[in-house]
Point group: C2
Chain length 392, copies 2
């Protein structure tokens, strides 16, 4: 039985080689990968099982090893590229049981592989690699030397392959269609949840014959004063004339994300919103002009903030971050951010969410783009009109 | 501005008092709560911000303190019951920056409150409380004594209040409607993602005039051999005649979950599936007969497994877990499980997902119930027909 893998085996083998090279540089003999996106990128594994402890091991030689809950080992058999002899499941009594910790089982596996005395890299600040997991592992492997390898695999993912770019462009078609759904369906008096139901429906149906996967963040869709805060979700309050609502959403194809936000105004936007819109658009243009190979990520942020400040607005948070393959709770890749002092060199094939949101004192405006660095500059992967969405 | 709180202030105050009593028993002076569900239960906080470090502090006296990213402090102002002077935001440069950790800011706040030398409780095995968060906090507060308070707040949530039960019953109406949608819409040749789009649409629209919130787990909907694994999601493969698909889904109202699974068979189920169905239903009935105040959680599991084994089937994983308020990645409360040696005493108002799934060698059957313990026994909160869903 061959799993329906999203990539050729050779692409997984290339990723493994890149990761091993980075391990050598960091002097790490064994890498314990617990970020679900890194696990998927290295092996193909795909399942909603990250609510229990699991990992992929990259040892000094051989294919990756998948380790997790016994019942999820069956999911690994259905999704990873390695042979089944590289899949290990732990007993169910380890699940959410304060009497023992699954990391005791992982430690036994590491011992059995002969790696108990190695320099072992851990993703120390990854969701799902908890404090208890760390202490349990360290206690069970007293001869190991521990290295913080947080972000090591994430950085290998920064430049996208041609197939990854194809998937992100499919996701971009989906998010365009989601924004079109908003323009079509939104009207004063419509319950917010009813609109979110339509957006989600469009997102999962997909676009251009390609199906939609679930986003790593649900639609963020606050209206009016709630939109002064960036991360509220939805309720059933009806949409109102004279009110702005921003929609921070993503199209997703096989776990690859194209996030894009737009702000809907029902009725005629007051001049304050038009000024904010104008400032965001000019600042985005200034940032995009700096988005090209050889420049630094902070060049984009500095150009963006400079333009914004000249127009009388300020934004004290980062204006973007790397995107690609991801699992909840974040569709960012957690490598570079677009902000002052972030000195990542831009290269063709890098992708990021250019996220120039303005949260005002009585509302918010988000007009954002999923961007790819090309050979000569940058482009948004989407064609959604770059402006306030106004519906009279 | 008063937030639109899901509960009366008095209910939050009661929860705080219960939590403080448990802290006294555990000899904890300050509790750092990082589980988003515990944060919401204690303060009302609701936002998709758990992809950055955040916490609620319960000190020896006074209301809870909300702490998180600066931009999310604005979301806290919109959602928590406490005054704004109890909300603290950290600077954006702490976000996903390997140069420094947000826990340094939390440590400064704890010092400023005069709690740096306390016995401090941590949710050591909670999602989002990472190894790096722990090490950063411990290093910054050398005079503290650390206590593993994992599950301390979760256990206070085990018995539901009348309003919580009302919310879960609203969620139950929603999941009933989601299963009705499956029966209405599913047909051979339909792409799986198109069906999931309909299910999700129904879930967010809600039922009986109550809106639907997002579930903490997306629909799990594997067909055929993929259903030998419990946690696969969906793709665009068309539904097929002669194939079973299980749908593990939840209705959600204001973060309160009613999970329920059903298995759809298109065409006439083979006798093997009918035997499995019969075994599950008999075992569920045996388990439900033991679900009553004064009995133990393991009594349900033992009765269930005994019946199942007599009918020639085995299940080596837990057959249920506590449910209620939750955030991704898990709709369980991570307190009791229904399994041998779990000796939690059942009390009226406890709620759990009775999860008697059977994963067979060539497919799977899930027929599950969201259950509430009553004064005299137990009942499912749902009226969805308890059987295989068969559509010819």
């Amino acid at each position: 039985m061959t799993p329906n893998l999203p990539f050729e085996t050779s692409e997984y083998e290339g990723r493994l080689a890149k990761t091993r090279a980075a391990m050598a540089t960091a002097d790490v003999a064994l890498l314990v990968v617990s970020d679900p996106a890194n696990m998927a990128w290295l092996t193909g594994y795909d399942g909603w099982s990250f609510y229990v402890h699991q990992a992929v091991l990259i040892g000094p030689t051989g294919p990756p090893i998948w380790w997790g809950r016994g019942m999820d080992a069956l999911g690994a058999r259905r999704t990873v590229y390695m042979g089944h002899e590289h899949i290990f499941g732990y007993e169910d009594t380890f699940v959410q049981n304060p009497e023992k910790h699954p990391m005791e089982d992982l430690a036994a596996l590491i011992k059995a592989q002969g790696w108990a005395g190695s320099r072992i890299g851990l993703e120390m600040d990854n969701y799902y690699f908890t404090a208890a997991a760390y202490l349990s592992l360290v206690q069970a492997l007293p001869d190991a030397t521990w290295v913080n390898a947080n972000g090591l695999v994430n950085w290998q993912r920064a430049i996208k392959s041609p197939t990854e770019i194809t998937y992100m462009r499919r996701a971009a078609r989906i998010v365009e269609k989601m924004h079109a759904t908003i323009m079509e369906r939104a009207e004063p008096g419509m319950r917010k949840n009813d609109l979110v139901a339509e957006i989600t429906h469009t997102g999962i149906k997909g676009a251009d014959g390609h199906w939609g996967d679930y986003p790593s963040i649900v639609p963020l869709a606050p209206s009016g004063a709630d939109a002064t805060a960036p991360h509220l979700t939805w309720d059933d309050r009806p949409l109102q004339k004279g009110e702005a609502t921003f929609f921070e959403i993503a199209g997703v194809y096989r776990r690859y994300h194209a996030p894009q936000s737009r702000t809907l105004f029902l009725g005629e936007p007051p001049s304050k919103y038009r000024r904010a819109e104008n400032a965001v658009l000019e600042a985005v243009a200034a940032g995009m002009a700096q988005a090209k190979p050889g420049n630094l990520t902070e060049d984009i942020a500095n150009a963006f903030n400079g333009a914004l400040n000249r127009l009388g607005f300020e934004k004290d948070s980062r204006c973007g971050y790397s995107i690609g393959l991801s699992y909840p709770p974040d569709w960012g890749e957690r490598t570079f951010s677009l902000r002052r002092d972030d000195k990542t060199v831009l290269e063709p094939g890098m992708t990021f969410h250019f996220m120039p949101a303005l949260w005002l004192d009585d509302g918010g405006i988000e007009i954002t783009e999923p961007v790819i660095i090309t050979e000569t500059g940058a482009q948004s992967m989407c064609t959604t009109p770059r402006s306030l969405l106004v519906k009279a």
